[in-house]
Every structure is written in C-alpha cells, then in structure tokens.
C-alpha cells in the first residue's frame, strides 16, 4: 500500500485523474445532443493524453535500483489508464439520451492507449500525449474515410465497428505500444 501511494504521487496520478474526469465530463456536457463516435474519439484521446503524462517518473536511474520487477507494474499502469479512460466515458455517457457502442469505445481506447505507450517509450512520459492527440486530430478531419483504403487506415477510430480495418489498426497499435512500454519503459 505504501509503495502504491508513493508510486501514485511520483507519477502525478491525482492531477492526471482529475484532468481525465474533467475532460470527459466537460466534453460530454459541451457537446450536448451532438454526442457521437466523433466526440467519443475526441474524449478518449483527451483522457488518454492527460493520463499519459504520468507514464514516466522523476528519475529513471533511481527507479532501476528497485529490487523488484517493473514489467508487470508498467503493464498494470498503462492498462489502468485505458480502463479509467474507457470506464469514466461509459459512466458519463450512460445517463445521456444517445449512447455510443461499448465495442467502439473499447477499440478506440485500446488503439489510442497503444499510441500513448509508443510515444512515452520513444520520447518520455511527459510527451506521451503527443501521438494519441496528433493521430486523433488528423483522423477526425479525414473527409469520407473509406474502410478499404488509406483514408480508412488513417481515420480508424471513426470507422464503424463492422469494418475489420478499424480493429486491425487498433489491435496493432495497442499491441506494439503496450508491448514497447511494458518491455522498455519510458525514455528519460
């Protein structure tokens, strides 16, 4: 328990969690009756982005002196971000009159989480938000994504859940990103 408290403090979890909830609730309220997959993608990207800043600690050298295995802890941390981002969104959209399918939330959350892990591995935790947000910004404005072409691969978060391309993209990004972060950890 003591370790958990210290870990959460060193990773700025309270601030991240607060930002995650504020982003999700804020966007849902601001959008009103326009709630759709478009805004779900935006909200998930926001939630993952603000939480991803905690993927690295203060001092990587100090972390490495610990006499336990970081792998499961890193994996647990990144998956927890995904669970929180998706879970809070599902909770927030439940009372509304329009719901976006849970499978779409799962797919987009997983893919964006992978992107966050990848960015944290390459540039460090404080830049973990860059990839998910950058990809989302581009994906949201792709005109007419075609589920069998490049435009669909770019705009995978907005494809219908029937399109296999969306699942493949999300799966690959999730796999590569979480694996990289779990095995290598954030860069200093």
């Amino acid at each position: 328990m003591r370790w958990m408290t210290l870990y959460a403090r060193s990773r700025q979890m309270p601030a991240s969690l607060l930002a995650l909830v504020v982003c999700t609730v804020g966007i849902r309220l601001a959008v009103g009756n326009q709630w759709s997959l478009f805004f779900v993608t935006l909200t998930l990207a926001a939630a993952v982005a603000v939480s991803a800043t905690g993927l690295s600690g203060q001092d990587i050298e100090l972390d490495r002196t610990a006499a336990f295995n970081w792998l499961p802890r890193r994996l647990g941390h990144i998956l927890l971000i995904g669970v929180l981002a998706g879970g809070v969104l599902l909770l927030v959209q439940a009372p509304g009159d329009t719901q976006v399918a849970t499978s779409a939330v799962l797919r987009d959350g997983a893919g964006l989480l992978g992107l966050a892990g990848l960015a944290a591995t390459l540039f460090g935790g404080q830049f973990g938000w860059t990839f998910p947000l950058l990809w989302t910004v581009v994906a949201l404005f792709v005109p007419d994504p075609d589920p069998t072409a490049v435009s669909g691969a770019v705009a995978w978060p907005l494809l219908s859940t029937e399109a296999p391309l969306g699942w493949w993209m999300a799966g690959i990004l999730f796999g590569v990103g979480t694996a990289a972060y779990t095995l290598v950890g954030a860069r200093r």
Partner: protein, 457 residues
C-alpha cells in the same frame, strides 16, 4: 542573435515546424480529391481567397499542435529546475523570454507561410482570378498562429505541470471543433450564438469561390487574436503578480472590440466578392467574371434553353450564374425570380454535361432552381426530381431516359408522370407545366402533384 540561433535549433521549434508541415501538407495532398475537396470552384488550388480559407480551415488541426508544443516550451525553466540559477543573472528575464518567444513564433509562422504559399502558387498556376479579398483572411490566419504560440507559452509558464500541455492542446481542439460546428448554418448549428462562434480560430470550409468573410469580421478576429497573442506573451515574460494581472488587459480589450463587430446572425458572416462576381454577358446570357472563359460555351446553350422555354407563359428571359454557396442538404427558401434561369456551376447536376444534356438540365423544372437539398434523399426530394425531369422533357419535346443508378427512386415515377401528361390535351398540358413551375418558383406545394392533378380547379 547567437541566443536566438541556439533557441531555434535546441528547443521544440524545429519539431514544431516539422509537425505542422507534415500534418498540413500531408492532409492537403492525401485527400485533395475526396470529401469536401470535390468542390471544384472553391478548391484549395482554385481561387486566391478559397485557398487562404482552406489553409485557415486547416488550423483546426494545426492550432492544437502549435498550442501544445508551445506549452511544453513554456514550462522549460521551471521543469528543468533552473529558475533560481537564471534569476541570479543581471539581465531581466524578459530578454530571455523574448528570444524564446521569437524562436517559436518564427518556427510556427514559417510552417504556416509555407502551407499558404503552396496553395497560392497552385492558384497562380491554375490562373485563378486575382482580387485583394484574400489579404485580410490570410493575415487573420497568421495572427491566429502567433496567438497559439503566445497562449501556449503563457499558460505553460503559469502552470508548469506536465498535464498542462495535453490539457491545453485538448482544450484548443475542443474549442475549435465546437465553435466551428456551431457556426454551421445547417441543422447541426445553433449550439452557440453567432458572435461567439466567430471567435473560433478555424472557419467553416469555403463552399463557394464568390463568398468571402466580411471586412468587419476579419478586423474583429484580428483584434481578438492579437489581444490573445499579446496576453500570452506578456504572461510568459511577467514575473510579478501585478504584471500578470496587467497582462490580461489586451485579451479583454480585443474581445471588447471584436464581439460588437461580429454579426448577430450567421447570414452576415460572408459577403459576395463583387470583383469576382461581376457579370460578363453575351446578350441575355451572363456568367461571372471568374468563369468568363465558360461564356463561349454557355452562351449558345443558354440561348437555346431560353428559346425552348418561350412556349411556357411567363418564361424566363435571361440566364445568370448563381453566386450562392452550394447547398448540400439545406432547402432553398423561395420565392425565386421568375425572369431568370439561375445556374450554379458547383451543382453536380451540371458536372460533365455538354450540349443537349446541359440544355436539358437548364430547362429542368421550367428553368427554375431545385428547392430540395441535392444530397438529401427523401420522398419530397424524389417527387421534386421526377417533376423537374418531366417538365424538362416537355419543354424539349421528348423525355430523356432518366439515369439508371440503382439508388435513385424517382425514374419510375418520372416515366409514369410523363405518360399521364402526354395523354392530355395540349392546353391542359401547358396549364399543368405552368402550375408545376410555379410550385418550384415559390418552393411551396408539390411540383409533381401539379403535373398529375387538374390545375387550379
């Protein structure tokens, strides 16, 4: 100078330039023939003002990137723990901050100007009509980029928490999206009052090459964005509480000037650019100055259409090119001018039509504009399409076989109506065609019912 060179090389500045260029140019060149880009006349590489407005539309993607990157840079001193060390220097902090602001500003503006020029060079190559209406919107875009840098640096310095950068970028993106969606005049819009939506950094994508932002709107946006930029940079270099409070003045002043300048309804946001829309005529057939090169082909066909229509009482006597934005799903609000045929070259029903087909399209509905939204399928639109097709056939003297696309539901309706109309005595035919044309001109009633039921009794 030395410091500035170092800042340009060693900060996030080169990455910012790279990210903006890759996202911006990549987006334009990857999707140039798709989605909203099909609007031939208002294309990115078509006309000066359209090109500038497309680049400003792109700020939707670029502004959050600029704001986020600047926020990262704004918290550099406090994050790297050199605050105390640098405070021991005899030079005021302002000097250092100015150099850093300058480096980031140069990086962002450079990338934006490259994107802007990429569009404008293509416009010159395509021989777009030159007017000066593009200058103000282009300036607004540049000031918006600078404001993004200022906002990021200022907030980054004030709140040096790693969560600040992503949160601010998200906030910028959500604000851009919501303000743009609300400024849409279609059914989606109306979330927020028009005066507020005009504060958005990214405008609607251009829908017509003739419509440009009004001068008052551009001036208002310049004031508000310049205020935002000034506030951001002042917050970034301010070191006392009093200075920070004073730094808020420019943005308040900018808002105070801008909000009253903005029109209260979306109808006042755009105005017809008189220089491009001036009519160029050949007898009764007129096109705009922008499309003067089409006059030679349109003139003959237009005169032929007017001649054919002469058999309808109260027929149109001239042909004009429309300067309205292309409606996708919005309905036209009548009444129309009965003495003119109005042609909108953006309308895809005129695409790739030549000779007889073009004339058939001109006399559709008796030389009227369709009231329904062209991309909006529905029972009302289907009935209207059928009626327009049949009236065109009656004017030309023979029904052209309707298109056979599987998704169209009106061709069968048109054939039945045509057969019914042919079985009537000639006078009754004329009366019904006139009634159908009236229904189209007023956008009231049903043009097909007018053809299938006895007129006026």
């Amino acid at each position: 100078m030395n410091v500035l060179r170092t800042e340009l090389r060693r900060t996030i500045a080169p990455w910012l330039t790279l990210a903006v260029l890759v996202v911006g140019l990549g987006f334009f060149f990857a999707f140039v023939h798709k989605g909203p880009w099909f609007k031939e006349p208002a294309a990115w590489d078509g006309q000066w003002t359209s090109s500038v407005l497309w680049t400003r539309y792109l700020l939707m993607l670029l502004w959050p990137i600029i704001v986020g990157a600047s926020a990262i840079q704004g918290m550099r001193d406090s994050r790297s723990g050199t605050g105390e060390l640098l405070e021991t220097m005899p030079r005021p902090a302002r000097h250092r901050m100015t150099k850093l602001s300058l480096a980031l500003g140069i990086a962002a503006v450079l990338a934006y100007v490259v994107i802007l020029l990429t569009g404008l060079v293509q416009v010159v190559a395509h021989d777009g009509l030159f007017t000066f209406s593009w200058v103000l919107p282009a300036l607004v875009g540049l000031v918006a980029v600078i404001a993004g840098v200022g906002l990021g640096l200022g907030v980054g310095r004030m709140l040096p928490n790693p969560v600040t950068a992503p949160a601010l970028a998200v906030l910028a993106l959500v604000a851009c999206v919501l303000l743009q969606i609300s400024s849409d005049q279609s059914s989606i819009g109306g979330l927020l009052p028009n005066r507020l939506t005009q504060l958005g950094v990214a405008p609607q994508e251009p829908r017509s090459p003739f419509l440009v932002p009004t001068v008052t709107i551009s001036v208002g946006q310049l004031c508000w964005l310049a205020g935002l930029a000034a506030t951001g940079f002042l917050l970034f270099s301010a070191s006392t509480v009093r200075r920070r409070l004073l730094a808020l003045l420019p943005v308040v002043a900018g808002l105070a000037i801008a909000l009253p300048l903005f029109p209260s309804s979306p109808a006042g946001n755009l105005t017809v650019d008189q220089a491009t829309a001036a009519p160029v005529c050949d007898g009764p057939v007129c096109v705009t100055k922008m499309h003067a090169d089409r006059l030679s082909t349109v003139a003959g066909l237009g005169k032929e259409a007017l001649q054919l229509l002469a058999k309808i009482p109260g027929a149109p006597t001239s042909l004009m090119e429309s300067t309205d934005a292309y409606r996708t799903t919005a309905r036209l609000v009548g009444p129309q001018d009965p003495s003119k045929i109005i042609v909108n070259f953006d309308d895809f029903s005129y695409y790739h039509k030549q000779g007889k087909d073009f004339v058939y399209q001109l006399v559709a509905g008796g030389g009227t504009q369709a009231c329904g939204g062209p991309s909006y399928g529905g029972d009302r639109e289907n009935r209207e399409d059928a009626a327009r097709w049949v009236v065109a056939g009656w004017v030309v003297g023979d029904l052209k076989p309707p298109p056979t696309d599987a998704y169209l539901q009106w061709p069968e309706l048109a054939k039945q109506t045509w057969a019914g109309l042919q079985a009537l005595p000639p006078q009754e035919q004329v009366a019904r065609v006139v009634a159908s044309r009236q229904a189209e001109l007023s956008c009231q009633g049903d043009a097909l019912t007018a053809l299938t039921q006895e007129a006026g009794r």
